[in-house]
């Protein structure tokens, strides 16, 4: 279960060969918006942005 098929792997490989990755982006945790928050609540905390004060 969860193994990508050869056709899909080929298409991804081709895309990656033709798309540069900015190294600056590779400091990301799985959530770039709340990397200093609690990992357990990561996505949850993302919603806290709407402070009005």
């Amino acid at each position: 279960m969860f193994n990508l098929n050869d056709d899909c792997l080929g298409r991804i490989t081709s895309f990656l060969e033709n798309t540069p990755i900015c190294e600056h982006e590779i400091s990301a945790l799985y959530c770039m918006d709340c990397s200093n928050q609690c990992a357990e609540n990561c996505a949850y905390n993302c919603h806290k942005k709407n402070d009005k004060k």
Binding site: M1, P20, C31, A39
Partner: protein
């Protein structure tokens, strides 16, 4: 630390009470008593944090417990006082609640204060799942209130051993109610069994198939493909997985602060909690040389959502990981890699920024090729 921008935000947690009106099956707070935080202690902490010259621009103030709404009078006094004061730092209050201690008067007050106070509800799936985990409290919650007053807040759904079997049904139930769903496997539970792994794979596959068939729906946090971005990182900065002991502070009822709520006496006992104050998070939390051997070479070391508090509680060391969730995390990331690859090949990610997409797919390839489940 991720970037300078990230350093400007801090999260402080005020534990208003050790009491709770529920007895959730997976609760990690094993040392509850009747201790509460006084108004004076709370306001003095907030005053100090909002006036500190520490380079922080914004402070998120979380009321925590126990169940924080059991101390509603303190919450109201604090929020109304802080509203009248002029601080340079911006702030927002946030409460994670079980949603039960809310009468009409309280609801009206919360509704009037949404500009500076948001609430998030813990909802563990369907009525049956929620009642198994959370003391038969499903019908005691005004779910519509949370949906109407806090439409941008998701629900926090915790999976226990007893509810894993219907994980997908629970997630889709909460989404049908209109909520984004942030779900996680409960910490502090031994998940290491072949049966759990098989059931977890089956439930994640159901969710993946559902989201592929309904690309207009936002996937739950378990299947947020952005998580794959960090897989290929070689930077030590990405080894820190939360702000414990750094951008987070958790104040106990007496005003003593700990690295996060998992390090409180309420959670791990007084002796261990006091010892935790000696931990040098600035140096230890990102030092791969201090990892246990198995994790040092793991492809998932940069993205494994390890919890320093759980590590400390289980092993006495923030870097010696509690391995009880290891295989389950690998299954989750294998599902994520599959989900991202399938979405790409079906053209469902065509509108995404190419550089971001490449990061995701590079991570997906690594996981697909190197993680065997």
């Amino acid at each position: 630390m991720a970037t300078d921008e990230k350093n400007k935000v801090k999260s402080i947690t005020l534990v208003l009470t050790h009491r709770c009106n529920l007895h959730c099956t997976y609760c990690y707070e094993k040392n509850k008593d009747s201790t509460v935080m006084s108004y004076e202690t709370a306001i003095s902490i907030i005053d100090r944090e909002l006036t500190l010259d520490d380079g922080i621009d914004r402070v998120e103030i979380d009321f925590f417990g126990g169940e924080p709404l059991l101390e509603f009078d303190t919450i109201r006094r604090v929020v109304e006082t802080v509203r009248t004061r002029d601080y340079k730092k911006s702030f927002i209050f946030f409460i994670t609640t079980n949603g039960v201690p809310l009468d009409e008067e309280r609801k009206k007050w919360f509704e009037k204060n949404t500009d500076i106070l948001q609430m998030g509800l813990s909802l563990d799936g369907t009525r049956e799942m929620h009642n198994i985990n959370r003391s038969n409290s499903y019908d005691l919650i005004d779910i519509d209130f949370f949906k109407r007053v806090y439409p941008e807040q998701g629900v926090k759904m915790t999976i226990s051993n007893a509810t894993l079997n219907t994980l997908a049904e629970g997630v889709l139930h909460c989404q049908k109610l209109g909520f984004d769903v942030s779900c996680n496997l409960a910490y502090g539970i031994d998940w290491t069994s072949k049966e759990n792994e098989t059931v977890y794979m089956r439930e994640l596959k159901k969710l993946v198939d559902h989201y592929l068939a309904h690309p207009d729906e936002k996937p739950c946090a378990l299947l947020d493909i952005n998580r794959l971005k960090g897989v290929t990182s070689s930077s030590k900065t990405s080894l820190r997985h939360c702000g414990a002991g750094w951008a987070m502070k958790s104040y106990d009822c007496d005003g003593t602060f700990y690295p996060c709520q998992h390090f409180l006496p309420l959670s791990i006992g007084k002796e261990k909690a006091i010892d935790s104050l000696k931990i040098d998070f600035a140096n230890q939390a990102v030092n791969i040389d201090l990892f246990n051997q198995e994790c040092k070479t793991c492809i998932m070391k940069n993205v494994c959502p390890t919890c320093y508090g759980e590590n400390y509680s289980a092993t006495g060391n923030i870097n010696t990981r509690d391995m009880s969730l290891c295989k389950m995390f690998k299954i989750q990331f294998k599902a994520l890699a599959y989900f991202a690859g399938e979405m790409f090949c079906k053209g469902l990610l065509d509108n995404m920024d190419k550089s971001q997409l490449a990061l995701i797919l590079k991570g997906a390839m690594e996981i697909n090729n190197k993680i065997i489940i």
